[in-house]
Every structure is written in structure tokens, then in C-alpha cells.
């Protein structure tokens, strides 16, 4: 049976990298006593795969992994048992049963939305400028950035990868849980809905960098916090959160 597990990662755990998060959940599943399936061979490992990796220092309340299980209980019970094994900064939010033919989260991820906000104590003199000019920035026809790889440099237009972006007060952002956010002086931020996945992938940091260039101010990466709200897939008709591919398991 395939399960899709949704979790939040926040606080000091934003400094734990993607591979270590995988290792953390492998152990947590074992401690929770869930009936996960294993590979064959001398060193069996759990059959779990993660969706879109989250960058170091980014918090999230929309992370996912899929796992193959031999038997399952209910959503409520599994969420509870996993949460008993979490540490501060990690919280399991949902467990869904996937259809047998469902593709892995990693394969179907198409977009994510984020809120980027200014950290407490940073950019005091530039905050107003940043909040007030964003619409102008977003109305540009193209947003060109210089993408550097080891050998080549090329100019890429990131505008088509921005599905939507605007300044919003936190209270106006659907699904945002403010308890996951870090210290800040303003109760608003930059909401961004960006393409994510193996085909097209845009990080919110890159948008902020381009924005600072647009404003002709230096980009200070440490001045901004990034929080992912949700990860999405395209189900053929529309873009929906990853958990929608599965059903909740209730007692009946």
C-alpha cells in the first residue's frame, strides 16, 4: 500500500539538509512501529521516496514523501504515532492512501508556493521600497537572470516560471500557519507561486535576487526568510496540492 505523508519543517530544523531529513524519517517510521516495506538483500532499506527537495534554511508546511507499507491503520492513528517520534521543528500533518497506480510525488511535482519575508532587523530602510515596487517588477514582460553553471553562462527568462507573485499581508495568505515563521518586523511578505520539479524549477531566492537587481539595490541573501506553503502536482486538468492524490483513511 502506498502512503503519501505531508509534514512541516521549521525552526532550527531548517538547517537539516534533504538527505538528513530522509534519514530522520526512516528512523522515525521505525520508532513509530509503522509497517513499512523494505527492499531485499543484505542491507534492506525502507521503500520511501521524497518529493521536491527543500533548500537549506528554507522552512515549509508543505513537504511530502511517499512510502510503501505492508499494512496501514488510520490517518489519525498514523499521524499521531509519527508525531510522537518528531522533534521540535518537525511535524507530521497528514497521511493519505494513494491509489495503486499513483505516480511517486517526485515524479508529479509541478509547482510550489512560498512566502518570502524580511528577517527581523534587516533592510529597515529598504522595506517600504521592497513592498511598494513589487507590482512594477512583476509587470515586466521578461525577467532575465544570468544562470551560471560550471562551464557556461546563459541568460534565462524566469518570468514564465512565475505563475503568480504579489505582496500580501500574512493574514491574507490562505493556509499560512504563522507559528512556523521566524522572527520578522513586518506582518506581510512576498507570496510566490512558482514552477517546481525536474522539468522547470525556480527558487524564490532567485526571484528576490532579480527583484533587487531591478531595484538596483544589493541583494542580501541573509536578509530574507523563505517558507514553502504547499507543493503541487498537475492532475491533468488543474494544479492541485500533492495530498489530493490520496484519500484519508478513517475507521470505517
Amino acid at each position: 500500500m502506498k502512503l503519501r505523508i505531508k509534514y512541516a519543517k521549521y525552526g532550527s530544523l531548517k538547517f537539516i539538509g534533504h538527505l538528513d531529513v530522509m534519514r530522520f524519517f526512516q528512523k522515525a517510521i521505525r520508532r513509530a512501529g509503522l509497517d513499512v516495506a523494505y527492499s531485499q538483500g543484505f542491507s534492506p532499506h525502507e521503500l520511501i521516496t521524497f518529493a521536491a527537495p527543500l533548500g537549506l534554511s528554507v522552512t515549509s508546511e508543505g513537504e511530502y514523501f511517499d512510502g510503501e507499507f505492508n499494512s496501514v491503520t488510520t490517518t489519525k492513528d498514523m499521524v499521531k504515532r509519527l508525531n510522537e517520534q518528531m522533534v521540535e521543528g518537525m511535524e507530521v500533518l497528514d497521511v493519505r492512501l494513494l491509489k495503486k497506480e499513483a505516480k511517486t510525488a517526485m515524479a508529479v511535482v509541478s509547482a510550489s508556493d512560498y512566502v518570502v519575508y524580511i528577517k527581523s532587523g534587516y533592510l529597515n530602510d529598504k522595506a517600504e521600497l521592497l513592498f511598494n515596487s513589487f507590482d512594477a517588477f512583476m509587470s515586466s514582460d521578461t525577467i532575465e537572470i544570468l544562470k551560471k553553471s560550471k562551464k557556461t553562462e546563459k541568460v534565462v527568462d524566469i518570468k514564465p516560471m512565475i505563475i503568480k507573485a504579489a505582496v500580501f499581508p500574512f493574514d491574507g495568505i490562505d493556509g499560512l500557519s504563522k507559528e512556523y515563521l521566524g522572527e520578522r518586523d513586518h506582518e506581510k511578505g512576498f507570496f510566490m507561486f512558482l514552477k517546481t520539479g525536474s522539468e522547470e524549477n525556480l527558487k524564490p531566492e532567485l526571484v528576490m535576487e532579480a527583484y533587487c537587481k531591478f531595484l538596483d539595490i544589493p541583494y542580501e541573501p541573509h536578509a530574507f526568510s523563505v517558507h514553502r506553503l504547499e507543493t503541487y502536482m498537475n492532475d491533468g486538468e488543474s494544479t492541485v496540492p500533492l495530498y489530493m492524490a490520496g484519500e484519508m483513511i478513517s475507521d470505517e
Partner: protein, 622 residues
Amino acid sequence: MRKLALSDEILMTIEKPARYIGGEVNSVMKEADDVDIRFLMCFPDVYEVGMSHLGIQILYDMLNKREDTWCERAYSPWPDLDKVMREKNIKLFGLESQESADHFDFIGITLQYEMCYTNILQMIDLSGISVYQKDRKNDDPIVIVGGPCAYNPEPIADFIDIVYIGEGETVYGSLIELYKKHQGKDYDRNSFLREAAKIPGLYVPSLYDVEYNDDKTIASFEPKYDDVPRTVLKQVVTDFSKTTYPEKPVVPFIKTIQDRAVLEIMRGCIRGCRFCQAGAIYRPTREKNLEDLKRYAIEMIENTGYEEISLSSLSSSDFTKLPELLDFLIEEMGKRKVNISLPSLRIDAFSLDVMSKVQDIKKTSLTFAPEAGSQKQRDVINKGLTRDIILKGARDAFIGGWTKVKLYFMLGQPFETYEDIEEIAKLSEAISEEFFDAVPKDQRKGMVEVGASASFFVPKPFTPFQWAPMDTMESFTNKAHFVKDKFREQLNKKRLKFSYHAADVSLLEGILARGDRRLAPAIYEVYKNGGIFDAWGEYYSHERWMEAFEKYGIDISFYLTRERADDEIFPWDFIDAGVTKRFLLNEWKNAKKGIVTPNCREKCSGCGAARFGSGVCFKNET
């Protein structure tokens, strides 16, 4: 949410920020106001090394089981963070509370290897207290050290308040009770230390005077006051069924060296190899109770979620209940899909059978530690391993399907000749020949590979070789080249490999291992000149050390290449490790004559450890 000691900006600009954030599974949080004692347990090396250490997990768990104590952890900040902390004046902090070292009553530092001495100074210095003990202020935390290098703490004695001699499970309780009595507004650091010196096993270096002879040897080593004991008796656990074991070890987020649950099955070793310090200082050999071990194994796996468990001891093959324990683990861990990582076992029919059950033969290599090439030399070091046993073990393994063999040797042993070391190449050749002889051509699943490696022998305190001169770097290099050439002369040379370790680090290890208080200014000098992480090749500077020795007029040959007189007073003689100096001297003489001493189970040789009243010295071992 806990507030981290380091800002996001710092954490995002250093390597592996997860080393410094704490919050791991099973780490212990308490309210600072609810406890009397705050203890900062430090490992003077990077997080990934320190988190792999069983001793720290044992003490962390033991101290936190006390309601009046909160024990936190700290590891040496890696050079990238070290630099930032100095620039920004950030103090060393506990991973749990993220509060700086000045909030603590004790700073405990473990001494696992000589090469971490500069890191000890780093941790003391970053704590914001004086590096030299004599300059500390009344309210500064007490710096206490323990571990194998505490068996000669003299090179670093000037930096330390208390040295704990022996196993940590025994007298921390008494020390904490004493501290609580002294706590309060009348607290006087010196009177506390004076009283602490009376607790068995605790050595307070500042309460002793050392006088030297004209030939630089020690003339006298005396307590300054009548109520301070002349000798300090090593403390050992006498009943493991009554001591604590960490059923809930801390599980790191990041991959560490020992990324698995560790089950300690036995302490001490019956073998009596004459080069081995651990074999002497952990005497008597004490086995743990089989039923306790079974319970711990299950509890640890359930509480950590580890995918692997390993056994820990100095010589696991000598654990009498090993077959029963392994049967249990294979059954129970198999059910839970937990791998068993085997310790290095003596190669025989039993161990080959076990290995084939839990490991992929194609991927694993077999390890032998003959330590010396010739039988004469193996008798000198009292390594109870014969050529026949090694060849038989290898042959059985080849028939069983193994093809890779690793061999460990030491060069520069006492009484070693070029004939002895030539045997290293010949023994390796003989092992490879067993393969061709034992496995018919059509049954060979791979080609035999014998990899021999040699390290540079360092004489250690509390071993029969504490009197021995250490070989010179030049001689070691010549010997290594000679052996390498001999490998090229062997028939199966293409199937054999020989490698050897760098000698300069061993040289320094030799100076520090048998050093005395006169080394302290040089160690401090190296530290002040930027020396930390000496155990890491890329940060070790041999030149920096040699310059510091020269500056302080330290003649390194005095510590290294001199043969000590039978009756010389050693810097560590004030420690009573159970094993007597008379026994060690006798062993030193037996080594010269190549006389083998039987192991503790064959026959008691009267080493002195029987005074602890437990373990192998008595019939009911557990």
C-alpha cells in the same frame, strides 16, 4: 522555540550547521532553574567524531538521570566556525540550551587521543576562562577531564582542575554531592578542589609538586598538603548489572562515524599484548550479563530507530556468550530489518559462519591483526597468534568465498630486526598462496587481494613498553621502504599491497604520551599559533610543534628515544591503575627474552588487577 546561539547568517556561511543546533532525537531538555548542577560534556573533536563515542553517551545519560543535574554536550567548533567565534566574541555553548559555557558549573572534556590536546585548549579558551588553571577566577566552571589519556595527564595538567582516573560510572555522584555542599555565596574554588582530591580516583594536579634531577628525570612527585593522597586509585565498575546503560542514546541528524546503535558487551581484555594500553588500563576483564545485553539491544533499537547495531569491546571473540548473543541478534534484528555490524573477530570456523550469515561476502574483507611479521616478534609483543592460525583462518575464509584480506602491522617495535620485518612480506605472500592452493581454478569467484598496512609503534604508559625507546622517524621510514621492496620480491606481488602511515604524527603522539608538565608551555604555544585539529592531516603542522619545542628548550629525544632505567620515576607513577609497576617491569624483561605470558583465562599472572575484586580474576566472571 529554542533560540540558537549562532545567527542564521553564521549558520548559513559555515559547513554543516547541523553540528551546532542540538535538538536531536533523545537529547535531553531541562529547565535550568530546576537543577543544581549544569554540566557541559565536551568532546575535543568535530561533532561527527564526538557523537560516535560511546563513553559520552553513557555519561550524558547517567548524569541526566539525576534530577539535580542537566548535562549538555559541546564538540570542537570546526576551524570555519572557530574563526567566526573569535572574531565575534561568541563563547562555546551547550547544544541543548544553546547557552554559553559560563552558565555551567563543570566543563568535562574527554581525552581520547593525544592529538586532541590543542582542541582541549580551544574548548577551554572559547569557554571564556583562563587556559592556565592557576589563573582561573573563583566563579569559573571547574574543568574536569577523563578518558584513556588521563592515565598520563601530566602534559596538560597545568590546564586542568580535576583529572578523573578510571571509569566514569563510579564517582561522579560523590563529586556532585560534594559540589552541592560547597555551592552558595561562600563558594571557594580552592577549598572545593582540595576536598575533591580526597574522593578516590580524582586527581587535582595543582595540589602536587614535581622536582627534577639534573638528567631531567623526575626526582620527586609529592602532594603539597598532608591531606592530599600520594597515589590516585583508578576507579572501575565492579558490577555491570547495577550500572547505568544509555537505552536512549542521542541520534544525530547528520551522518556520523559510528552511525548505529552500539552495544558494549565487555570491558577489558584478557590478552595482555605488551604494546596495548587499553589492555592494561581497563583490567580486569568484565563481561556483561547476556540477558541484560539482549534487553539493551532491543531497547536501543526501539528508542533510536537505527538500521544497524554493532558490538563493542576490546576483543569480542573473547566474550564467552558470543554465540548465544549473536544467535539472538541474528533472529531478533532480522525480524526488525536491522543489520548487524560485526566487530573484528578472530577468524575461525565460528566467526566465518556468523559473518556469512550477516554480511555480503563479496563486499567484505577479512581482517587479521598479526601486528608483527615474525613469530619471534609476535612473542616479544605477546600477541598470541601463530602463523599456522593465521594461514588456517585465511584458508578457511577463501574456501568460504572471501577473497579480500586486510593485515595490520606495526613497525618500530622493541627488539625488532630487519629479519623480523621481512616476514611481513613473506606472511602476506603465504596468505595469498593459500588462496591458490585451497580454491580450485573453476571455483574462484574473484581474485585474492591481500592488503597489508603498517603503523608506527608508539610506547604508552602502563604498558610493559613504557620503558622502551621509540624508534626514530628515519629508522621507521627506512624500515617502511625496506618492507615495500620486499613485497616487490614476492611471487604473487600483483595480488599484494603494502601501505604505511605518516610517521610525523606518531612522533608527536610519542612525545605527548610519555610527556610531563614541562611540555605545557609548548602545547599552549602551538595552540596560540593557530594549532587545532592536529588529528586531521590537513590541519597538522609538524613544523609548528617542533618550533614550539625548540622555543621552550624541550629535547624531544628525552621523551622519545631514550631507554628508561628500571627504577625511573615516571610522570604517571602517582596513578595506581591496579596493574603494578613490578608486573609491567617483569613483562618488559619477558619481552626482551621473547617469553610469552598466558592470557588471563589460561592462568593468572598476578598483574595486580585482582584487587578490584571483579571480572576474570574470579571464577564467576559476570
